[in-house]
C-alpha cells in the first residue's frame, strides 16, 4: 500500500536542522547522517529556506516533521495543509513523515502548541481516522509521536501506551518514540518510564527523538519538567535511551534543540554521544 522506495533513514544519529548551522553542518557533519526539518517552516514559495533544504536533501536523508496538522483534534484535518505537506514530502523526497499525538487548532485558530487529549474510545476512533487520512493523502506510512504531558484527564479510559498500540494496529502507522517525552511525562504524571517503554509495540518504532528539558515545580512542590528542547539531553534520558535500544536495536536517533540553540560543535557533540549509544547495541 505504501511507497517504500523513498530513501530510508539510517540507524545513525540525526539532528533537527537549524538554518544558523547550515554552513558549519555542510563543512563538518561529524557523525550526523540525516536531518529532520519542521514542515511548516518550508511552506513558503521559494527563497533561501527552500534552496537550503534542497541542498541538504541532495546530501542527507531528510525526515519531515509536522507540527501543525492537529491529528488529535476534534475538527477535520485541513485539506490545504495536507496538500502542502504532500508537496513538500514528494518534492524532496522525504525519507519519513511524522506528526504528533496532540491537537493544535480549533475553530480556525492555530495555537502553536501541542495540546493534550483524553484517551477514550471516541478520541481513538478520531485519531485513527485522521492518521488514515494523512497516510492516504501522502501515499506513505507516517510515524506518530508520543507527547510530553503535564496533566491527565479524568475521563481517560486507557493508558497512553494502549492508545498508541491501538492506533498502530488499526492504521499501520509507525511510532516516533521521543525518549525525552517519555521521561518528562513519567516524572510529571508519576509513572515508571521503563514500564511505559515495555508496554509499547516497539516493532513499530521508525525513529527515536532525544531533546533537553527544563525543571520547574508544581502546586505541591513536586518536580514539573518542561519539554523545552533548549538544553543538553539529561543523563536519566540517556539511560532510558539505553533501555530502549536494548529492546529495539539501532534506530534512526535524532537530537532536537530548538530554543537557545547552541553553536554547531555543541550540537554535533550531542550527536556523537548518540552515535556511541547506537554503537553499544550494534
Amino acid at each position: 500500500m505504501f511507497d517504500r522506495t523513498a530513501p530510508a533513514l539510517p540507524a545513525r544519529p540525526g539532528v533537527g536542522f537549524k538554518p544558523q548551522h547550515y554552513e558549519a553542518l555542510m563543512a563538518d557533519p561529524g557523525p550526523v547522517a540525516w536531518l529532520e526539518v519542521h514542515a511548516e517552516n518550508y511552506m513558503g514559495a521559494g527563497g533561501r529556506p527552500l534552496a537550503q533544504l534542497q541542498a541538504l536533501a541532495a546530501r542527507f536523508p531528510v525526515s519531515v516533521h509536522g507540527v501543525g496538522l492537529s491529528i488529535g483534534g476534534e475538527g477535520p484535518l485541513e485539506h490545504a495543509h495536507l496538500d502542502r505537506l504532500r508537496g513538500l514530502v514528494d518534492h524532496l523526497p522525504a525519507a519519513r513523515f511524522s506528526e504528533h499525538l496532540a491537537w493544535s487548532s480549533h475553530g480556525g485558530a492555530f495555537l502553536n502548541d501541542l495540546l493534550p487529549l483524553p484517551y477514550t474510545a471516541r478520541t481513538l476512533a478520531r485519531v485513527c481516522a485522521h492518521v488514515d487520512q494523512v497516510q492516504q493523502a501522502l501515499g506513505r506510512q507516517m510515524l506518530l509521536e508520543n507527547p510530553s504531558s503535564y496533566l491527565a484527564f479524568t475521563e481517560s479510559e486507557m493508558p497512553e501506551t494502549a492508545f498508541l498500540g491501538e492506533v498502530v494496529q488499526r492504521t499501520g502507522c509507525g511510532l516516533l518514540l521521543d525518549v525525552n517525552n517519555v521521561f518528562v511525562s513519567a516524572v510529571n504524571l508519576g509513572f515508571e518510564p521503563r514500564a511505559y517503554i515495555d508496554a509499547l509495540p516497539l516493532g513499530a518504532v521508525g525513529e527515536l527523538h532525544l531533546g533537553g528539558h527544563d525543571s520547574d515545580s508544581d502546586d505541591q512542590g513536586r518536580p514539573l519538567l518542561i519539554d523545552s528542547h533548549g538544553a543538553p539531553v539529561a543523563d536519566p534520558v540517556w539511560a532510558l535511551l539505553d533501555h530502549v535500544l536494548s529492546l529495539t536495536g539501532p534506530k534512526p536517533l535524532l537530537i532536537e534543540w530548538d530554543t537557545d540553540v547552541p553553536d554547531w560543535p555543541e550540537l554535533r557533540a550531542e550527536a556523537a554521544r548518540a552515535a556511541l549509544a547506537l554503537e553499544a547495541v550494534r
Binding site: E40, N41, M43, G44, A45, G46, G47, R48, P49, L50, A51, V67, G68, L69, S70, G73, E74, G75, E78, H81, R84, W103, S104, S105, H106, G107, G108, A109, F110, L111, N112, D113, L115, P116, P118, S149, Y150, L151, A152, F153, T154, E155, N188, L189, G190, F191, D216, S217, D218, D219, Q220, R222, L224, I226
Partner: protein, 248 residues
C-alpha cells in the same frame, strides 16, 4: 472534555481551570495547566516579535512585547504556517490607542510584512540586462514588464525609508518627505529602496499588467520629470525584471 472548553481556559490568562484535569495522581493540575497556557502565549508573542524586526527596533523589546501581547490575544494565527502570521498587525496598530502618538508604526509593520513576503517569495530568473536595449522604442512601449514575485511597492505618507534605515542601520534622522518604497530580492536577501517621484505609479501600473507606455503615462501624470531609465537600471541591478511580454 471538549476542545472548546479547554481552549477558552487556555486563551484567557485569568481563566478558571476546567474540571476533569489532574496531575496524574488525582491531585490538582493548576500549575500544569499554566504550562500549556504559557507555551501558547509566549510562542505566539515570539512569532510576532521576531516577525516584525523594524517595529522591534523602533519600539524596543519591552514595548514590542506589550504590543505583541495585545495583538495575539484577539488575533490567533489562522494557519499552521506561521510565515504569514501577523498580516492584521498594521490595521491593529491603526486602532491601537497606546501607540497612537506614533502613527507611522503601521507603515513600518507593512514594510516588515513586505520584506518577509519577499524573503519567502517564489524564485524567478531575471532577464539579461541587455534585453531591454535590444527592443525597439515601439516594442518597449507595448511591452508589459513582469516583475519578480518578490517585488513589492509600498506607498507611505511617512519618510518610511529613512525610518527603516534609522531602525536598522543608524541612518540620519528622518526627513520631512513622504517616501515610496520598492522591495526587491536579488538573491536570497530582500532589500528596500526609496523611490523617486512617479516611480511607484509606474511600478503599480506594471503590477496591474499595463504596458510600459501606459505605466509611463501614469508616472508622468504624477511626476512630469519622472526618469524611467534610472528606475529600469535599478530593476535590472536588483534582478527584479523577469519577462517582457510583447502582445502580438
Amino acid at each position: 472534555m471538549s476542545e472548546g472548553t479547554l481552549l477558552s481556559a487556555l486563551r484567557d490568562p485569568e481563566g478558571v481551570l476546567p474540571s476533569g484535569l489532574h496531575d496524574g495522581r488525582g491531585g490538582p493540575a493548576t500549575r500544569r495547566f499554566a504550562v500549556y497556557r504559557n507555551n501558547i502565549a509566549v510562542s505566539l508573542r515570539e512569532a510576532i516579535v521576531t516577525g516584525f524586526p523594524t517595529l522591534l527596533a523602533l519600539l524596543g523589546p519591552r514595548n514590542m512585547a506589550q504590543l505583541a501581547r495585545a495583538f495575539v490575544q484577539g488575533h490567533p494565527p489562522t494557519s499552521p504556517v506561521l510565515l504569514t502570521y501577523g498580516t492584521e498587525l498594521p490595521a491593529f496598530l491603526d486602532g491601537f490607542a497606546p501607540l497612537a502618538t506614533l502613527p507611522y508604526l503601521a507603515d513600518a509593520a507593512r514594510l516588515d510584512l513586505a520584506l518577509r513576503r519577499a524573503y519567502h517569495a517564489a524564485d524567478a530568473d531575471p532577464i539579461p540586462p541587455e534585453a531591454l536595449g535590444l527592443l525597439s522604442q515601439t516594442d518597449l512601449g507595448r511591452a508589459v514588464l513582469i516583475l519578480a514575485p518578490a517585488v513589492q511597492v509600498l506607498r507611505s505618507n511617512w519618510p518610511l525609508h529613512d525610518i527603516w534605515r534609522l531602525a536598522h542601520q543608524d541612518g540620519p534622522p528622518p526627513g520631512a518627505q513622504a517616501q515610496d518604497l520598492l522591495i526587491t530580492r536579488a538573491h536570497f536577501d530582500p532589500a528596500c529602496h526609496a523611490l523617486s517621484p512617479g516611480a511607484a505609479a509606474f511600478l503599480q501600473a506594471c503590477l496591474e499588467g499595463r504596458s510600459a507606455a501606459e505605466a509611463l503615462e501614469q508616472a508622468r501624470t504624477e511626476a512630469p520629470a519622472f526618469d524611467l531609465s534610472a528606475l529600469l537600471a535599478l530593476l535590472l541591478a536588483q534582478r527584479a525584471l523577469c519577462t517582457l511580454e510583447i502582445p502580438q
